[in-house]
């Protein structure tokens, strides 16, 4: 029945909505996405060249140094494209992008070095104002924002963030539930311009499998205008069809598929390789200063033309020793 009731909006976070929500435009775009089984195999460089542009809102899955799409990250840095806005749930890949000073706005939940603490790159870029806008969220909240987009709805409610300054510096809104009267924070949907995910295996069309925990791959892959996948291994579509319940990202979500073994190096990849602790420890030293970070980026990113050159530089002996 029609009525004149209303739900009070009790509180609105001061943070801005860095990426606008337009679900109808997202629908139109998803409608036009290629549904044909056509190969999307390409290099990191080609994917970045075709699908990423200055100022895009981007995001990476997973978290920490595990299964991070580093080969794509390095290609982004080399591409010269810049002024990105970012979903800041990241460690190593985001640290490199901040080091290279390519990020202007962040929906921030966690950017740091985990057990190794605060990141020098984060401190330098945020404290200096190179990153000009920071909006705060929690890990769950940021993921639920992807989940809202993945469901095709403009928000999801939560009990998280209530009563905190995280809420105050977010773009969430607190309402009184029309069913229960309880207070809830509404989290606005987050649609990425371009998302980057590394997976264990994919076919050439982009049907993807991930071993073990799936982080937020399910939600994020469904919340991207463009989605670039890198895969440890490219497999036949017949193998995808043998175990369709293992497909976590179906091909129709995917725009580019990059074959990139050791893509997560120096981090680890479940069922593929261990972390390169020596290299990472060196990195931890380098990132402490701007000079050190620039040296690191020159040697390990800018001076290398592509992922294969990186693998050559690391060397077969080292790579073999990391294999699980």
């Amino acid at each position: 029945m029609e009525n004149s009731k209303s739900i009070p909006i009790l509180y609105e976070g001061e943070g801005s909505l860095i990426q606008p929500i337009d679900l109808n435009a997202f629908r139109e775009l998803n409608r036009k996405k290629n549904k044909k089984l056509e190969s999307k195999l390409m290099t990191e460089e080609e994917a970045v060249d075709r699908f990423l542009k200055d100022g895009d809102y981007i995001g990476f899955e997973l978290y920490g140094t595990v299964r991070a799409p580093m080969s794509l990250t390095r290609a982004i840095i080399r591409s010269g494209k810049t002024d990105f806005r970012l979903a800041g749930q990241g460690v190593h890949e985001v640290d490199l992008l901040l080091g290279a000073n390519l990020i202007r706005e962040i929906d921030f939940t966690y950017i740091g070095l985990e057990v190794f603490g605060v990141s020098g790159n984060v401190r330098r870029r945020v404290e200096s104002g190179d990153v000009s806008n920071v909006v705060e969220w929690s890990n769950a909240s940021l993921t639920w924002r992807f989940k809202a987009a993945s469901m095709g709805i403009p928000f999801i409610a939560t009990k998280c963030m209530l009563g905190s300054d995280t809420l105050r510096r977010s773009a969430a809104k607190v309402i009184e539930c029309p069913f229960t009267g309880e207070k809830l924070a509404l989290l606005p949907a987050l649609i990425l311009d371009v998302g980057f995910i590394h997976v264990n295996r994919a076919d050439k069309y982009g049907n993807c499998q991930i071993d073990g925990i799936s982080g937020f791959a399910f939600e994020m892959s469904r919340a991207c205008k463009k989605l670039i996948i890198s895969a440890e291994e490219i497999i036949d579509t017949d193998d995808i069809r043998k175990a369709p319940d293992r497909t976590i990202i179906p091909y129709y979500l995917v725009d580019g598929v990059v074959h990139a073994p050791f893509a997560s190096w120096p981090g680890e990849m479940s069922n593929a390789h261990e972390k390169d602790v020596d290299h990472y420890n060196m990195y931890l030293e380098k990132q402490k200063t701007e000079v050190g970070m620039n040296e690191y980026l020159k040697e390990w990113v800018y001076d290398l033309p592509n992922h294969q050159a990186l693998l050559d530089k690391i060397g077969t002996t080292k790579l073999k020793s990391l294999r699980i």
Binding site: R27, N30, R31, K35, K36, M151, P244, D245, T247
Partner: protein
């Protein structure tokens, strides 16, 4: 080969011809499944079938008998669950959806809930199921119906699944996603679209041997007639051959 065909075979062929290649179709059990499978083998090899309870891109070697059937994810590209599928539809990924029902009106609204007052029904029907979701979120819906005055009504007893509701702009006003809605109605008498301005059902082509008068006589509302009503080709020999030998060799739906 016997080129005589039964009414179901005609409906299957008509529905099949509507679907374009390179897109997705949300498939219910029965005629839609046969139509999609036939389309894949005739003109739309890249038509991806999506089943409500999680199967995407199955190879339909054996025809499913239900939307949760093992065959709906036979050699599929993706086997997930109903939320994943319905959310894909809500995000705009599903082009075609098939619908049926006990009653339809001029705006393509459908009733599959109850005959009579829903609170004290003369006949309790099976309910929305996924129909309302398909009708809300897919871009273009195709209704497949038996055509008579008890079904094609001026006012249906219950809108289970919204068509154009009460005319142009009504879907958007209700909050449904823009540019979605009824696309075609396929019946034993002909094929219908919805006139752009009024959003009312319009005859665009007649089945072999059917007249405009017959359509009018069997429709309980004033039906629009297109300027150039064409005749639908009967099922071709190729269509019947594929349908009988490849799509449904066991004759499950004959």
């Amino acid at each position: 080969m016997n080129t005589e065909y039964n009414p179901s075979e005609l409906l299957i062929c008509l529905a099949s011809r509507i679907m374009e290649d390179g897109t997705t179709a949300f498939i219910g059990t029965g005629i839609p499944m046969l139509a999609a499978s036939l389309a894949q083998q005739m003109h739309a090899p890249n038509l991806i079938t999506v089943f409500e309870f999680g199967g995407t891109g199955a190879i339909l070697e054996k025809l499913p008998l239900a939307v949760g059937d093992t065959r709906t994810f036979n050699k599929a590209l993706h086997a997930s669950g109903i939320c994943d599928i319905m959310e894909a539809a809500q995000r705009g990924f599903i082009e075609y959806g098939f619908l049926g029902g006990a009653q339809i009106d001029a705006y393509g609204n459908l009733n599959s809930t109850a005959i009579g007052d829903v609170l004290k029904p003369n006949v309790r029907l099976p309910g929305s199921g996924g129909a309302n979701d398909v009708g809300s979120c897919c871009w273009r819906t195709i209704a497949i119906m038996k055509h008579d005055k008890r079904r094609f009504m001026e006012k249906i007893d219950f809108i289970t699944t919204p068509g154009f509701i009460d005319g142009s702009g009504a879907r958007e006003a209700a909050g449904l996603p823009p540019n979605t809605g009824p696309y075609r109605v396929v019946t034993n008498l002909g094929v219908f679209d919805f006139e752009e301005k009024s959003k009312r059902m319009r005859l665009i082509s007649l089945n072999p041997g059917v007249t405009v008068e017959e359509v009018k006589d069997n429709t309980g509302f004033e039906i629009l007639i297109a300027d150039n009503v064409e005749y639908n080709d009967p099922p071709s020999e190729e269509e019947l051959k594929i349908l009988r030998e490849k799509v449904d060799p066991d004759g499950l739906y004959r």
